[in-house]
Amino acid sequence: MSGIWVVLEERNGRIGRMSWEALAAGHTLGEHLNLPVQAVLPGAQTDSLAAEAATKKVARFVRLEHASLATYTSDAFTLALEQFIRAEQPDYVVFPHTYQVRDYAPALAARFGQVLIGDVTGIGAGPLLHPTDKDPSAGTPVFVRQLMQGRLSGEYRPSGGICFVSVQSGAFRTDQTESVSATVETLTPKIEAAQIRTKPGPPFRGSAQTVDLGSAQFIVSVGRGIKEAENLPIVQELATALGAELAASRPICDSGWLPIERQVGSSGHTVSPKLYLAVGISGAIQHLVGMKGSQCVVAINRDPDAPIFEIADYGIVGDLFEVVPALSEAVKAAKQ
């Protein structure tokens, strides 16, 4: 077995933040288990990226290099990493929980008779979390991920063999300390053109962008709690009073009540305003990853157990149809 391998992801000529967070998660595991942390980057022509990446804290750095890996396909990435993992026999394989990883890592794990522990938010030492536990698996780490749309957390234990894990965006702090360069090794997997069954097209934008949520300082965001499209004006009025952009969680845009360009979350925009006011949003993980970088979060929700309150600075538990109009009045009065 060869310790921990972190799979980095190249996008638009860069290695993204989530990949470095996955590396940080790899280090958390490595320190706990006293295992070496190494990184592998699948792609084509990644020489300059590799030089940058090799300055991070990694014991080994491998470029998994093939022309067929230039554009992502599930078939090519699964084949390349399958060959790499068979050769290296890692204890742990750690991924960033990106859309790309979600598309192939479950199939890759299945080839080894394993199951990906996906969207992990925390890694703990088994025995510490079970002080009375005397079972032989003591020493095996446990992985925490969210269940029931964030209303519960679950602790997962791997039961042997290669362990595949993907980590949630923002859950692990990227390691700032850089150390001596690891040598860059290059490996070439065997991939035949005929093994790639899908033909991916270039990325495109949905429609012309008319709002820039990414740079908005104030955002009022609305979720399922609004019940009907006809009720949106009461939230719009609050946004206007605050000088805020109106945004929404996915179900509102899925229903066509607001355009998709106003959607906040993993499938929409990532925002970090001074004030994020969530109205009738329960706070599923997919929404939280898009807004948890906000400076101040306010939640208005009738369910006191809604996960949005886990990351809110201020909360009002109540009927939004009463609270929001009252808040609009209070904001207007304060601004006079």
Partner: protein
């Protein structure tokens, strides 16, 4: 086109959630159940494809007796027939175990297209469809909003992160996981509900499908999430709470 849609029954969105006595899952006693949201979109896509190109839509669902109500809902919306994989220990299986059951039930049907929702609203693994493709030896694409039939197979619209999309061409047969929001969902009509009563629901037990491997990943414990911030809850009447919030935002958080 012969299309299979794998659907899951999950706790209703607003249902109260209580951890059960084992500490490993939730109380299911008086739970209200519903069709998983992205599975509803997968079913809708299948029904629209059938309306355009003809063929058959078959739903398959694994779970205990209660799953029957969700299957009947899918039949009432327009699915032609159903396969119910009868198993009481669904919560003991990991994603690979569930995909093995589904794969064993789906393979003999040889569908042109197999659809599932992107992820379940309870466990949220988002893996079943991708593993299913691997087990069936078929190409797949995930996070799909729209399916178009082409000469050579299908062209699908895939969602990427941060508002980007791409088109992917696949040969048939294939497996797709469907993202929510691609279509408008239909309701079951009275006629549909009536017709559903005469449609075939074939029951197979998980033993017949012969896959009882122990899970490789074990859900050991569930617990209430730890708070990341200490939230100040502002009480009183709506008017009082609103006034208190404005004060806090102005003088404490200093964002107004």
């Amino acid at each position: 086109m012969k299309i299979i849609v794998a659907i899951k029954q999950v706790p209703e969105r607003d249902a109260q959630v209580h951890i059960n006595s084992t500490g490993k899952w939730i109380e299911e006693g008086d739970m209200q159940w519903a069709l998983n949201e992205s599975d509803a979109y997968a079913l809708e896509e299948a029904l629209q494809l059938k309306e355009k190109h003809g063929g058959e839509v078959i739903v398959v669902s694994a779970g205990p007796e209660r799953v029957g109500s969700t299957i009947r809902e899918a039949l009432a919306k327009g699915a032609d027939r159903a396969i119910h994989i009868d198993c009481d220990d669904l919560d003991q299986l990991d994603a690979l175990g569930v995909a093995r059951l589904l794969s064993a039930a789906i393979a003999p049907e040889s569908p042109d297209l197999t659809l599932t929702g992107l992820q379940s609203d309870d466990l949220g693994y988002g893996q079943t469809g991708v593993i299913l493709a691997e087990l069936l030896g078929l190409p797949h694409a995930s996070l799909i909003l729209h399916v178009e039939k082409t000469e050579a197979g299908i062209a699908v619209k895939r969602e990427l992160e941060e508002g980007w999309f791409q088109t992917i061409e696949l040969p048939l047969p294939a497996v797709l996981t469907i993202q929510s929001g691609g279509n408008k969902l239909r309701y079951a009509t009275l006629m549909g509900i009536k017709k559903a009563k005469t449609k075939e629901i074939r029951r197979i037990t998980s033993q017949e499908l012969g896959s009882a491997a122990a899970p490789v990943v074990v859900l050991d414990r569930v617990f209430a999430p730890q708070k990341q911030k200490s939230t100040q809850i502002l009480g009183g009447s709506p008017k009082e709470a609103a006034a208190a919030l404005v004060e806090k935002l102005k003088f404490e958080a200093r964002v107004l």
